[in-house]
């Protein structure tokens, strides 16, 4: 992030990177690595929702659908078509892009409200297909035994088949994806998307082709979610219809809202905290979900604008300077 390369922010980023890279060598716990790997995936997934909901202002329930489509397309590309995991990811992105353009172009012509409805129906339809189109999806059994991603470069061969290498793969994927999203969102693209959200009429009066931008946001978010989903199922080694679970939608929404709609760094922080939190609560066994719910409620009551709001409040207190440093500005 260019702004981050300057001054304290850049230093912090460097520190984070060093921590992330050094962690597997400092800790021998595969469980912790697994939690961190999950956090990486879910943060990317949540960020994809943030692109379309937090930035463009379109509430989409289709993200979990694209995540699942990515999982299935990825798995099928490998098991049925004999492609590599990377082919699977590309295919997942391509299929998701086409689907996203199709559903958003049709529904957005009508209204934002229509888009929300279609996004719900879309996900339900996919879940039903995954359950019932047994010839292709293997139904509720899912497709188990997916191979580990591997790199073959001439004589060079490497398989991501242990937790540490899978963690690094997820880290690389998340870093690349989040960086790309961050760069896009902090540019005029992000500004334009936020314009749509704040005042669509005004945006149109300034010549913004709003529908196109919304379709763009939907497509971009879909590709990210689908590629994350594809990589994720190879990490799990199984894809089954529970990949469309409401659980993921809820997790995404909670991360995005707790992080603050349209925020970037606070949202990433929220992603990690909210994936780690239930795991930390595991020590309290069966009542942990109650605690989780209580923490959520408390969060809404005491930090109503999410981490981003918290940060903004601090900033307002500590500086009276210009507001160009706002997330999304150049």
């Amino acid at each position: 992030m260019p702004p981050a390369m300057r001054s304290p922010k850049g230093l912090l980023l460097l520190l984070l990177a060093v921590l992330a890279l050094a962690y597997p060598f400092a800790s021998s716990s595969g469980y912790h690595l697994n939690v961190l790997t999950n956090a990486l995936f879910f943060t990317v997934l949540a960020m994809s929702l943030n692109v379309i909901y937090g930035y463009a202002g379109l509430l989409s329930f289709a993200q979990v659908g694209f995540w699942g489509v990515g999982g299935y397309v990825g798995a099928l590309t490998v098991t049925r078509l004999g492609g590599s995991v990377w082919d699977g990811m590309l295919a997942a992105g391509a299929v998701a892009l086409l689907l996203a353009i199709a559903i958003s172009a049709v529904s957005l012509r009508l209204s934002n409200h229509a888009f929300v409805i279609v996004s719900i129906a879309f996900t339900l339809l996919l879940q039903l297909l995954a359950q019932e189109w047994i010839d292709v999806t293997n139904g509720p059994m899912g497709i188990p035994g997916l191979p580990a991603p591997e790199i073959v470069l001439g004589p060079l061969y490497f398989a991501f088949d242990d937790r540490t290498s899978q963690y690094f793969l997820a880290l690389a994927f998340a870093a690349a994806t989040l960086a790309a999203i961050g760069l896009v969102l902090s540019s005029r693209v992000g500004r334009t998307l936020r314009m749509l959200k704040h005042d669509e009429t005004l945006a149109r009066s300034l010549g913004v082709r709003t529908t196109r931008w919304k379709v763009f946001a939907a497509g971009f978010a879909a590709v990210v979610a689908a590629m994350a989903g594809a990589l994720y199922v190879f990490y799990l080694s199984i894809v089954d219809p529970t990949i469309f679970d409401v659980y993921y939608t809820q997790l995404m929404l909670v991360i995005v809202i707790v992080g603050g709609l349209g925020s970037f760094w606070p949202m990433i922080a929220a992603g990690f905290v909210l994936v780690v939190l239930p795991e930390v609560l595991r020590t309290s066994d069966e009542v942990r979900m109650i605690y989780y719910g209580v923490v959520l409620i408390a969060g809404v009551l005491f930090f109503p604008r999410g981490f981003a709001g918290l940060l903004a409040a601090r900033r307002r207190r500590h500086s009276s300077g210009g507001r160009l440093g706002q997330p999304g500005s150049i």
Partner: protein, 379 residues
């Protein structure tokens, strides 16, 4: 600057979460669905597991040490199941019991194989677990319960021997369990010349069966084979009774749990016939004692999951004792040589695919009375 605080506290929390377990105990991990749609199954499994561990510890534990349980909730979700398996392995468990749901077991299988930790499953029914386990596959996974295929054959054979049932309908939940069961039943019925008039799959958690029942009432089916989760089955049976659909129930039934006991008492299961891995009515001293203990502790009779949990622990404990060390590989080797006297009578051993062939029970209901017709060996 918040990020630094977040990052630091996050790491601190994660590191602190690693439990410092007592070194004296033998650690056994449990992965079970404790929340979510099949939480009741996990709950009952835990009852059996806890009872068995208490008994064993009261008698001095294994290898002279007490057994300590580490229980994790897998929500019946494959990805959570992987997380849970990893956590248990990190916690240093000798072996894992679980994960109840077939897809959760399947997701955990590569994890335990990589780490080299034995996994003992007593409830999941998917045939692919057996296919993947043991010889030529994953040598770390052991299954105690008979598959639904074996149960369906026994069930249909008994139905056929009655001679009164020529036409059956199948109603099953649309999951691996339901579909697997329905397929097995249909195949067995075909072999015995019983006609399957219809097969209906419904989503898990369906509350209303009036539509299916309306159709079945007119289909001329003399029996309805059910492969459903307990809550769905209770709804189905209750509504069948109210709509006056005359057909005997069969398939994979049990009568445990408050709702089913009420239905049984009300005569809703009259003329039912079923082959099930367990029945609390089975008249062996071991089972009678087990049921009594469970009733005393929880005020409810034993359910299948409790029975499975109880035997899972005993099979595992015996293997650890035989191994003479809480070493995972040694325990795995010992597990393959299991020879355990089941509460249902007979002896449990594992075949090449690490599949045990525990006994199963054929029961029939007359009015409100459950009679165990046969306790048979599966193969």
């Amino acid at each position: 600057m918040m990020k630094k605080t977040f990052g630091a506290s996050f790491l601190a929390v994660v590191l602190a979460a690693g439990p410092a377990m007592a070194q004296e105990a033998v650690q056994i991990g449990v992965s079970a669905p404790l929340t979510g749609p099949v939480a009741h199954g996990g709950e009952h499994e835990m009852r059996g597991i806890r009872l068995a561990v208490e008994e064993i510890n009261a008698k001095g534990g294994v290898l002279g040490k007490p057994i300590a349980l580490t229980v994790e909730d897998n929500q019946c979700n494959p990805s959570v199941s992987v997380t849970v398996a990893n956590k248990l392995i990190e916690d240093g468990v000798v072996a894992i019991i679980g994960a109840q749901c077939s897809s959760a077991v399947l997701a955990a299988m590569p994890v335990v194989q990589k780490a080299g930790v034995p996994l003992v499953s007593g409830i999941a029914t998917s045939p692919s677990i057996t296919e993947k386990a043991g010889i030529g596959g994953n040598p770390w996974v052991f299954r105690l319960n008979p598959s639904d295929r074996e149960l369906a054959v026994a069930d249909v054979n008994y139905l056929a021997s009655l001679g009164s049932v020529k036409r059956v309908a199948i109603v099953a939940e649309s999951t691996d369990y339901g579909r697997g069961g329905a397929e097995a039943f249909a195949k067995a019925a075909e072999a015995k010349g019983i006609e399957v008039v219809s097969t209906d799959f419904h989503p898990l958690g369906a509350a209303d069966f009036t539509t299916i029942l309306t159709r079945l009432g007119r289909s001329g089916a003399q029996a309805i084979a059910l492969y459903q989760a307990p809550a769905d089955r209770a709804n189905f049976v209750r509504q069948k009774e109210a709509l006056g659909v005359k057909a005997a129930l069969t398939g994979k039934l049990n009568f445990a749990g408050e709702a089913h006991e009420k239905l049984l008492a009300d005569g809703a299961f009259d003329q039912a016939v079923t082959a099930f891995p367990y029945a609390p009515e089975v008249d062996t001293p071991a089972n009678k004692a087990f049921v009594a203990k469970l009733v005393a502790k929880y005020g409810e009779t034993s359910q299948y999951e409790s029975f499975a949990g109880y035997e899972e622990v005993y099979v595992l404990a015996a293997a650890i004792e035989r191994a003479g060390t809480p070493d995972r590989a040694a325990v795995r080797a010992a597990l393959t040589k299991t020879s355990y006297a089941s509460m249902l009578g007979g002896t449990i051993t594992f075949d090449d695919h690490d599949q045990a062939h525990n006994k199963a029970v054929i029961s029939r209901v007359d009015g409100s009375k459950v009679t165990v017709v046969d306790v048979f060996s599966t193969n």
